[in-house]
Symmetry: D2
Subunit: 409 residues, 4 copies
């Protein structure tokens, strides 16, 4: 009897050829498509997969799981990779893998397969997550299979194979880069972008308007947080309020997109040891990130913030590298959540063409004490104490400079 | 014989009253004014100080020292405090203190004095730096002196005292906030800004245009770095090139200011344990920071970058807290400098209303390898190896999930 | 009416003089003595205090609180300061301060007082803890009081004052060092020990036998842990079992002391910026520390251990510096506790003259997998995978060495 | 023409069989033996290798390189893995690999080979180092070769193969564990030690005496350091002085071994994701480690020490994992070296049965200031300043406790 494989299927050329190739290898193939908010015609893909020979196609709408259990916690934790990337793809992988493994278990399939390449991060994220959730699972990664790679040495080979096997190929010519899209972001890489000094063309961007097409007036939003999680967004222009997480993100993507917010163009370090160039647009989550950052520093104790930042940076690496499910990420997630107990309040954020900035904030749990800091009142702070504070802190410093006559530093 | 005091003098109401008060106390007072690029009428201030009774007024133009030995290294180290503040004031303090101590030594003065308040960071920065450079120096900080504070309980008392002693007072009414300006930035705090939900008015900003007044077309610059230090800026619109550090910063302040770049509005943690709200505009250095960040991540090894980031965050705290001269900062500066050996190259940065972003970069020392990362060539990377990489990395993860049947993570 | 002061009283010369001095100042003084397991004749001290004029003397036996809520958590967290010091005094301070504040609140006293010196850590620990627990409390620290310090410039002045006021003075001449003792340890510092090249004399040590007087045969104990906390100690020689925390510590102190275990002689960094030399003997807790360390590394995931170690080092500093009660310590304690969920099991520890070492361990929650690691079985580990693991990890390294032709490294 | 392979040869059963197997595969095999101080009869091994068919056997005495360029820097950096392991094997690997690659280059050999197993760390250390030094090198790792592993499934298969091919086999039966020895340490693992609750037998240890056979009197040594490197050891019993690094280590191994110093029994985390149990004896380096630790904390500034410790812990991981040659280790080595500029001086260390401890220390570069810390003199330290120091540090703490009424912490 044929072994069952669940294939993470996209409907594109690569995974269509993989589907056919797996069938040729004698597997019974179930295609799995995750709806994480990418703009895709699932019906066309289903039809295509069935036509090629898939036993079945399973489409799971996991947008809400993705938003609630991956994007929202990422905002709460303040995750950012190498100072700039908000991890849109990295966060989607464990969410998709969870569903993929759930289906594999239900179908009693011993194998899963995917179309991720051998030089990328996604293969790692996919597989580490899958093995965490199902340590016995077997994985077929054609792009790392010697025979497969020999057979398909370039796009031309895939096209020929598709033609030969009557696999429908999209009429629109492929853009000279590859993309990954979901409700949080779209990423662009490869092709012409591989040269880091090539400026990305304006028409590349799909979620965000070009700066020349954005409004020339500001737009104000109120963003509410509870324990570091966004809970409500109020559109201060039209007065409308959003309280459902998916709705919040969709609204922020729309308004953020209109303002061209959340574009980055970076060279990043992949887990497999390569540097790669990526362009990302992340309108809604960029707004949430900024808002959370402001409120967090407003609320948290100075030293707790520093501890939390250290853990945050580790967590960003775990997520990027594929360790969302791991002892270290489990632990760090719990610690970071603990740090957010008092990150409650509301910020006012101003959207402008290409960026946004917080202009006001309020919280009942902040350690900010206006009376204490005021230049006009004492507020229980004795200025004379600062003398001793400085002098004692200088004891060590003076000893060092006295000892080493460090005149030239 | 009267003891000599060197007073860090600004020409404003506070230090003018302090000057008079020190004279009343029987000191011989030398006023010191540091020209760090603030927009100030030094002649008026000199006249005022002499009129009040200063023995002498020394003005030192330390702009170039400030740019070369403080701002440039800060860019090289990538210093940023609590994710947002570029340390414009914190960096100026040790530079000013160095000159102040140099003068005190030359004059053989045992005392220095300043007008920094008792709740702020500047008193700490000033004094720790001074004591490092001159462990025997004695410091008079009137705003921490019980008698002085009793005498001057508010602005009203200062004004009365000034009037009584014929100290000229500026005709223009004081803005309802206080500022600190230098060639790197202007900061705004106190007064109406103490309420963190008060939106700062548009007319507050002095170095940067309001977004509604900025050009609606992009502006492109080429910024060159050697060992992480900015060495040249080329204006791609007009072709002009700037190679002198002070000229580079001035040009970037001007063009960055025209584009409204480098404004932040934050609540930060002061070293003395208070949270305070600050607004900063830092046009030129914000552009340099972004450019350096891009190039650094393009050039540096992944792990070296992580080590360097850890040290960078520590250094930002040291600088903010006043420890520019300290064993830990000495050490960290040297380590960070070591990390920048290979941060050489050029980035193209696009200025837009309110922000800027790098759109292309190039370096001969980058570890970026286009052939290696390319999806179209193998470039000496064996995709099959990724299987073993993933599987071995999963050993630990599988063991954990098997041991704890962690189904609900 | 006289203001009430609660004085942390030891019965020694210093606090007896302080008591008298406070009375002279017109305070109503309540003496507080904490029984943290030090070897002290409380009755004599009470009599002395009352004779001097104390309104009352309150003795609180807080040994069990100290063991359960400070020492045990410290073992669980693995706290060690600057690689060697187990924080015996640092941990006692917040415990004592908690009781002191409780009494001050009960007596409705506005003031507390203590005999800690102005160069030491204990003043900080005492006062920060007290202010955390009772932000309105006022603190009288005579050894920082100008008038007091002038009056009592050395031991001679104290003795004269005591004589003058009929304060009984211990007949035994003072040892040429000072000590602090509790159920966890005894510390020795000052006096002849201030010279770091003076070897401490053998008769200094009180809790531990000199090495020449220890048994020449080994002694074996079984130490059980649950969630990182010691729960049971079995004496493998006599078969006796200890399950009560205080009893466990007492037994380990006795047997550890008999074996001369837990002595250190170090120079440490005080929070007030001084380096000081300290000698400590900590027999029982040293055994527990070693046992916990072994079990923790046996049980915990590699990466969780690293995160935990980072937090542990921070926490040790917090505790040493006096921040047991602080936002950062609250947070870190919770995070460290989280890390210990699976630190369950038992170790066999061998005591030898002057040291102890774990020789065997067992746990049901360890991630150790004998089959997986065995050289004789495959245990689901594919050795071939290591090739890919190594090769992918080498990608980055090869790129670096190729780029920089780093032949001379 | 046959391809040349340089085989890291030990003379034992495994590498002898590998030698034969490589010859059968048609390679021309050069055996390489590194003398890193292990107790080995090289002549016998040479004869054996030539008899089996090696083209040549190259023996390199790299003891002095190992001591000067690996062990001494490790002491200087204070390297210790997971709090206990001094990295004796980890440090030898890059030293051996360097020589191996040098020989491969000289012989113009494209291949190297080794007998490290597929579950261990040594394969990684060997290969990453080799690829760093010679990115084009090809590596044959028989214990990861499917065919080889199938042929040799256990010790029995190796013995049969040896017999069949007239490979001489040691007459003494193999101990039920495996060892790795060099001038720094001997490690023991596998076999009966794989059960972590099996107590290691007394006769296992080779470099150190059992505790019952050690002297019952102390032994004192003076150890001198310059920039953190050991420069001289003086035997205070016999007055003899050692100044050559290799001689220092040999002497300390001998005297340390006589005292049974430097044994540990641990479970550690391997880089390939396994936990393994290891027993190590490291007499001389354990003494040096303790001595350096004491002097470092005596000399270094508090905050520099903390920075350095962070880097030290990273470096220990790099070395353990095989990254001695890597961008991150290059960088960290340089930073750690910088930290040791002032670690100069001498410590007196007392050896006792099973352990050693520093009992006195002296340095001209220490920041220790006896006058400053003394309880009997003021030494330019104003105790009153501590009040302000404490109060300002408490501002943040009081704000937190006031805000959250945290009565139950």
């Amino acid at each position: 009897m044929a072994e069952k494989v669940v294939l993470a299927y996209s409907g594109g050329l690569d995974t269509s050829c993989i589907l056919k190739w797996l069938l040729e290898k004698g597997y019974e193939v179930y295609c799995f498509m995750a709806d994480v908010g990418q703009n895709e015609n699932f019906l066309v893909a289903v039809e295509k997969a069935l036509k090629i020979g898939a036993k079945d196609v399973i489409i799971s709408d996991i947008k809400s799981d993705f938003v609630n259990n991956y994007i929202w916690p990422a905002i709460q934790m303040g995750l950012i990779y190498e100072e700039r990337y908000l991890l849109g793809t990295s966060l989607a992988r464990p969410c998709i893998a969870t569903e993929l493994i759930k289906i594999a278990k239900k179908l009693d399939a011993k194998y899963i397969s995917h179309g991720a390449t051998g030089k990328g991060n996604d293969q790692v994220r996919f597989e580490i997550c899958s093995m965490a959730l199902h340590p016995e699972i077997k994985i077929i990664a054609p792009w790392r299979d010697e025979e497969f790679c020999k057979k398909f040495q370039g796009r031309k080979d895939l096209l020929d194979y598709a033609k030969k096997h009557n696999i429908p190929v999209s009429a629109t010519p492929k853009e000279p880069w590859s993309t990954d899209a979901n409700i949080m972001h779209i990423s662009y890489e490869s092709g012409i972008l591989e040269n880091p000094k090539t400026v990305a063309p304006d028409h590349l961007y799909e979620m965000t308007k070009n700066f020349s097409e954005t409004p020339n007036y500001p737009y104000h939003l109120e963003i509410h947080f509870n324990v570091g999680l966004p809970t409500k967004v109020k559109d201060l222009k039209w007065g409308k309020t959003y309280e459902n997480n998916v709705e919040i993100l969709k609204f922020l993507n729309e308004i953020g997109g209109t303002y061209g917010i959340g574009r980055i163009d970076i060279v990043e370090n992949r887990y497999v040891g390569l540097k790669s160039r990526g362009i990302y647009e992340t309108p809604g989550a960029s707004i949430l990130f900024k808002a959370h950052q402001d409120l967090e520093l407003f609320c948290l104790d100075r030293e707790v913030y520093r501890l939390k930042s250290y853990l945050r940076d580790r967590m960003a690496d775990y997520v990027y590298n594929g360790y969302w499910f791991s002892p270290e990420a489990d632990y760090t997630k719990n610690c970071l959540k603990l740090s957010q107990k008092t990150v409650d309040g509301v910020v006012v954020i101003e959207l402008r063409s290409g960026f946004c900035r917080v202009i006001a904030r309020e919280s009942k749990k902040s350690l900010y004490n206006q009376e204490l800091v005021s230049m006009d009142v004492h507020g229980n702070y004795k200025s004379e104490d600062a003398t001793g504070f400085i002098n004692i802190n200088a004891v060590r410093i003076k000893q060092y400079y006295k000892t080493f006559h460090n005149d030239d530093n």
